[in-house]
C-alpha cells in the first residue's frame, strides 16, 4: 500500500510537471532528448486454486500468469482442449504429454460451458 501511495505521488508529480513542460500535442517543438530506461515489471504469484491444479500450475505458468486463464469465459471441453493444443503446437509450450488430460479436465471442471 505504501508503495502504491508513493507511486501515486510520483504520478501526481509527473502530471504537474507534465502540465508545465509538455508541449502542445500536434505542434512542432525542439529536439527530443531520449533517456535510457531501466524498470522492474511486477510478477504474479497467483496460482490455480483447488483440487487437481498441480498439472496446470506446473506446466502453464512459465509463459503466462494464471490471471489470463482465470479471466477467460466458460468454454466447452472441446474449446479448452483446442486452447491447450494451440499452446503446445503453435507456441511450443513444453507441456508434459502425461499432464495434458489433467490440464484440460481442470479447465473444463472449473471453467466449463455446456
Amino acid at each position: 500500500m505504501f508503495r502504491n501511495l508513493l507511486h501515486s505521488l510520483f504520478i501526481a508529480t509527473l502530471c504537474i510537471v507534465g502540465l508545465v513542460l509538455a508541449p502542445l500535442p500536434g505542434r512542432a517543438e525542439g529536439p527530443l532528448v531520449l533517456k535510457s530506461v531501466n524498470v522492474d515489471l511486477p510478477d504474479s504469484d497467483r496460482m490455480f486454486p483447488g483440487a487437481g491444479a498441480d498439472a496446470i500450475n506446473n506446466n502453464c505458468l512459465a509463459c503466462h500468469s494464471a490471471g489470463m486463464v482465470l479471466n477467460q469465459p466458460p468454454l466447452t471441453k472441446a474449446a479448452w482442449q483446442a486452447e491447450v493444443n494451440k499452446m503446445i503446437h503453435a507456441y511450443k509450450a513444453p507441456v508434459d504429454p502425461n499432464d495434458v488430460t489433467a490440464i484440460v479436465d481442470y479447465l473444463s471442471r472449473t471453467k466449463g460451458a455446456p
Partner: protein, 411 residues
Amino acid sequence: MKHGNPLHHPFTRRALLGQAGIASLAMISAPAWAQAMVDLPFAGGPTARQITTAFPQKGAMILQRTRPPLLETPFEVFDKGVITPNDQFYVRWHWAVIPTEVDVDTFRLAIRGHVDKTLSLSLKDILALPRVELAAVNQCSGNSRGFFAPRVPGAQWAHGAMGNAVWAGVRLKDVLDLAGVKPGAMQVRFKGLDDPVVADGPKYMKSLAIDHARDGEVMIAYAMNGEQLPLLNGFPLRLVVPGWFATYWVKMLNDIEVLDQPDDNYWMKTAYTIPDTPYANMKPGETGVKTVPINKMPPRSLITNVKAGDTLHVGTPAPLRGIAFGGDTGVARVDLSSDGGKTWQATQLGADAGKYGFRQWQTQFTPAAAGKYVLMVRCTNADGVVQPDQPNWNTAGFVRNVIEATPVVAA
C-alpha cells in the same frame, strides 16, 4: 525479480512481504481497503478485474494479465479528451521476455535484407532525420472481445484496448530510402526486442506490403504525446501504421527486413487472420472460411459520459458526448439514436485533429416521458463506411465495430 525470467513464478517480493499476495488470492471478497476493482459487463463472466498501479510509467490500469502484461485503459479516460495519456495508454505483449532496460546510446535499429546497403542506425541517427507528427488511433485487433456472443477465448478486453496519441518520429520511407530498396522487394518485416519464452516459440514479427511501407505515412515513432514512449508501449521506437490494427505497430522496433517474397511466418499466416467477408463475420461453427491477414480498421463510436443503467431526468436536456474514429480515414458524421436505432439525429463534431485520430462528438438528449431508452451512436467515415447494426462474430474475436447500445432509464 524481473519478469523476463521464464523459470520464475511463485516466490516474488510481494509474496515475501505477505499481505499483497494474499489480497490478490482473496480477490473480490476482500474488504474495501484491499484493492480497487472494476466490473466489465461480460455475459457469463468473469466480470471482476483489479485496478493496478504496479506497472512502471503507468497510472491506474485494468489488470487483464500480469505476465506478459495486458493492461486496459479504464473507460472513463476516454471521456476526458481525444488524447489518451501515455500513463493510461493500454498495453499488450505476446511473449514474456521483454527487456526491462534500454540504453539509448547502444540501441541500434537494423535495416537489412533486400536492400543496397545494410544499416545499423543509432537513436541519434534517427533523431537527425526529418521529423513528422500525426495523431492516430492504436487499437488492438481484439478490442471489445469480451462482448462477443458467443464468447471466444483470448484477452477479455472491454472497449479499452485502444488509444489515440500524437506520434512523432520519422517516415519509414525515409529510412528505407537510406538503405536503398532493391527492385523486386515485396514486403517489409518488423521485429522488436521482445523474445519468446520458449526457444522454439515463434518470434513476434509482422510485415507490410512494400508499397504500404513506403507510403510516407507509416512512421517509426520515438515520441508519443510529446514524450518518449513508456517502455511498455514500445520504448525507444515503435512502428505506427495509421488506420491499421495495432498488431502491425511493432514495439521496441529494432529490426527491419526487406523481403523479396511474401512473409509466411506464424504471426502473418496463422495468427491475426480474419474471415475474408464483410465485417470479418462468420457463423459459429462454420468451417472452410477463407481468411486474410487483419488489416484496416473500420469506424467506431462510443458514448463516454453516460453508462448503461444510468438515470436521466424527464424534460431535462442531458448532455451526451463521446469519441469516434473513422478507421482508415476520417469521421464524416456521428448520429445519435434514442429509440434503439429506429431514428437518428446528427451530433456536433469537435475539432478535427487529423483523420486517423479520435474525434469528439456531442449533443443533447431530452427524455420526453418516463421509461426506458436505448441510446446509440453511429459513425460514418469519410469513405461512407457506416457502423453495422448487427454484431460480427469470428473465432478470434477480432474487428468488433457494431453500433453499441447504452440502455438508460428516464425518471
